[in-house]
Amino acid sequence: MAKKSIGPVRREFTPWETPDHPPFIEFRNVTKMFGDFTAVDNLSLKIYEREFFALLGGSGCGKTTLMRMLAGFEAPTAGQIFLDGQDLAGIPAFRRPSNMMFQSYALFPHMSVEKNIAFGLKQDKLDAAEIRDRVAEMLRLTKLEQFAKRKPHQLSGGQRQRVALARSLAKRPKVLLLDEPLGALDRKLREETQFELMNIQEELKTTFLIVTHDQEEAMTVADRIAVMDKGKLVQVATPAEIYEAPNSRFVADFIGDVNLIEAKVSRKSGEGTLLESVCEGFAIETNQETDAGIGDRVWYAIRPEKVRIAHGRRDQDAANQIDGLVWDIAYLGDVSIIHSKVGESEKDTILRATFANVSRMVDNPITWDDEVVLSFDRDAGVILRG
C-alpha cells in the first residue's frame, strides 16, 4: 500500500518542518490595541524565506493590522517583530525593506505608469540608468510595456493591479506584502492573476505575504495559510492540511463546505473511535484517535464530497451507511449538492452530499423525496473537540 498523505505536495520546500530553520519574519507575542479593541492578541508566528504565506480571515480578524505592523503603518502595543533577524521597532515605514501592494492599488494618479514604478527607486537615489533598467524589467515582468506612458485613469482594473504589483516589486523588497490584491478584479481575471502571482514569485524568489478573506485565493497561491479569528491564529498549515484536517469547527466551517455532526464518543479502541450522533441516533465509525473521553461531546466534520449518495444499499465497502430522504437539490452543472434529511429526531438534520454529474443522461436520477443511502469511509472526516 502506498504511503497516504494529505493533499498534493507542492514542491520540496517545507522549511517549517525543520525545527531549527531560522525564520525570515517573526512576530513574537505581538498585541495591538485600538482603544479598548484588541485587534491582534498576543500572537506569535514564523514565516520563512521564499515562502508564499497567506493570512486568511473574516473582516475584523486582525489580519490587515498584522500586515500593517510589518509595513510600519501601525506600531505594536506589545511584542516584537523581526525581519531577517532585525528588530523592526522604531523603524518608520519609509525605511523598512518591505513593500506593499495596496488593496485600492494606491497608484499616484498624477504620475504615469513609468513614474509610478520609478517612484520608490528615486527615493533610494539610484542613478538614472539603473532606474530606467529596473523600470523596463518590471514593465516586462508585468507585461505593461505598451502602457508605460499612460496615467492610471487610462488603465483598466487589471492593468492598474499590475502597475501596483510592478511598483511594489521594483525596489526588490525583502518581503512583498499584498493586501487583498485581487479583491477588485472580476472572478475570471482574479483566477488568471493568481497564477501570474505564483509565477512571478517563483521567478523572483521573494517572500510574499498576502492578506485575503477569499479562501480559494489563499489556497491557490499560498504555501502555508494562517487562519485568523479575533486577533488570534486558529491554525497555521498547508492548504491541504487546513482543508482535510482542520483543527476546529471554526476552520472547518470557514474553509469550504462542511457537514458538522454533533456526537458523543461511545467507544475507543486501537483501531479508532466510535461516535454516536447526539440526536439522530446513528453511529459513526472512524479510524481516528481522539483525546476526548467516553461520553464527551465532539463534532464530526465531513466534507460533502466525501459523502456518497445512492438509491439502496449498494456501497457495501463503506463503514458508515446512513438512511436519508432527499430534501433539496442544488444543481450546479458540474455537481449537484443534495441535501438529505437523516436520523429519527424531531429536529431536521440535513446532511449534504456532493454528486458529480459525470453523465449527461442518467437512468433513474436521484430526485426530491427519494429514499437514499449516504455512505462514507472510516477516514472520510475528522473529530473536532471545539
Binding site: A39, G60, G62
Partner: protein, 306 residues
C-alpha cells in the same frame, strides 16, 4: 479596511495642528473674549473710548478685586432703551420672513435643476454659484436702481398701465426682504439641489407603481427626503441674515430696525464701544442656538454618509 485606523502623530503632525489652531485662537477666539470684556466696561471720552474694567497686567489680586466692580450697565441699558430689543426682535422676524420667502422661491429652482437633463445640470449649477462669487455689495446696489420711486420697476409697471402712481418699495422692509432673498438664494438652492439630486428617481416610480399620483408622491416622498437640504439651506440663510448690515442699510428705510445696522450706528456714529460690544454679545447669544443646531445637523448628515 478591517480595523479602525488610528493616527501616528509626529512632531510635524503637531506643528500642523498648532499653526492654524493658534491663529484661530488669537484672531477668532481672543477677539470674542475682548468683546465680552469691553461690553462690561464703561464708556469714556478717550482713545480707545472706554475705561478698561480689569487688566491682567495688574495681577490676579487686582483681577479678583475688579471682578466685584464689573459693570453690567451696558446690558441694563440694552433692556431699558427699547431701540435694542426692538432691533433684536425685528431682525429675527425679518430674517425669518426672508428665509421663508427664499425657501418658497428657491425650492422650485432647486427642484427644476434636479429634474433637468443630466447634461444641463453642471451649467445650471454654475449659474447658481456665479452670483455667490460676485460682490455682495454690488448685487444689493443693483436693486436700488430697480426699486427706486423713479426706478426701472416702476417705469415698467407705469408703462404697462398696471399702476397709476409709483409704488414705494425702496427704503421699506419690502426692499429688505427682496434684498435678502436675492442675496442669499444661492445658499439655499445649493444644499437643496444636492439633496434633491441624490434622490433616487426609482423611488418616485415605485410610489407611482403602487398607485400614488405624482403630486402626492412629491408630498410623501420627495419633500420628506429633501428635508435635510431644506433645513441646511434655511439655516444658511437665517443665521447670517439676522446680523445683516449692508441690505437694511442700503435698501431699508430709517424705520427698518436690524441689529447689525444698530451695532454699526452705535459703533461708527455714536462711538459707544462698550454698548456696541454688549449688542454683539447678545446677538451672538441669539445666534449660538441656531448655529449649534445647524452644526449638529451637518454632523448627522456627514455621519449618515460615512
Amino acid at each position: 479596511m478591517d480595523e479602525p485606523v488610528p493616527v501616528r502623530r509626529t512632531l510635524g503632525g503637531w506643528a500642523l495642528i498648532a499653526v492654524p489652531y493658534v491663529w484661530l485662537l488669537i484672531f477668532f477666539l481672543a477677539p470674542f473674549l475682548i468683546v465680552f470684556k469691553i461690553s462690561l466696561s464703561q464708556i469714556a471720552v478717550a482713545i480707545p473710548p472706554y475705561i478698561p474694567t480689569f487688566d491682567l497686567a495688574s495681577g490676579w489680586q487686582a483681577f479678583f478685586e475688579k471682578l466685584g466692580e464689573l459693570s453690567f450697565e451696558n446690558y441694563l441699558w440694552l433692556t431699558q432703551d427699547d431701540l435694542y430689543w426692538k432691533s433684536y426682535i425685528s431682525s429675527v422676524i425679518i430674517a425669518g420672513i426672508s428665509t421663508l420667502l427664499t425657501l418658497v422661491i428657491g425650492y422650485p429652482i432647486a427642484y427644476g435643476m434636479a429634474r433637468s437633463p443630466q447634461s444641463l445640470r453642471p451649467t445650471l449649477l454654475m449659474l447658481v454659484i456665479l452670483p455667490f462669487w460676485t460682490s455682495f455689495l454690488i448685487r444689493v446696489y443693483a436693486w436700488i436702481g430697480i426699486l427706486k420711486n423713479e426706478g426701472l420697476l416702476n417705469q415698467l409697471l407705469l408703462t404697462l398701465g398696471i399702476i397709476d402712481e409709483p409704488l414705494v418699495i425702496l427704503n421699506t422692509n419690502m426692499a429688505v426682504y427682496i434684498g435678502i432673498v436675492y442675496s442669499y438664494l444661492p445658499f439655499l438652492v445649493l444644499p437643496l439641489y444636492a439633496s434633491l439630486e441624490r434622490l433616487d428617481g426609482s423611488l418616485l416610480e415605485a410610489a407611482e407603481d403602487l398607485g400614488c399620483p405624482p403630486w402626492l408622491a412629491f408630498w410623501k416622498i420627495t419633500l420628506p427626503l429633501s428635508l435635510p437640504g431644506v433645513i441646511a439651506g434655511c439655516f444658511l440663510v437665517f443665521i447670517p441674515a439676522v446680523g445683516e448690515f449692508v441690505i437694511p442699510d442700503l435698501l431699508g428705510g430709517s424705520d427698518t430696525l436690524m441689529i447689525g445696522k444698530t451695532l454699526w450706528t452705535e459703533f461708527f456714529n455714536n462711538r459707544d464701544w462698550p454698548v456696541s460690544s454688549a449688542v454683539a454679545v447678545i446677538l451672538l447669544m441669539i445666534l449660538v442656538i441656531p448655529i449649534i443646531l445647524f452644526q449638529n445637523q451637518q454632523q448627522k448628515i456627514a455621519e449618515k454618509e460615512a
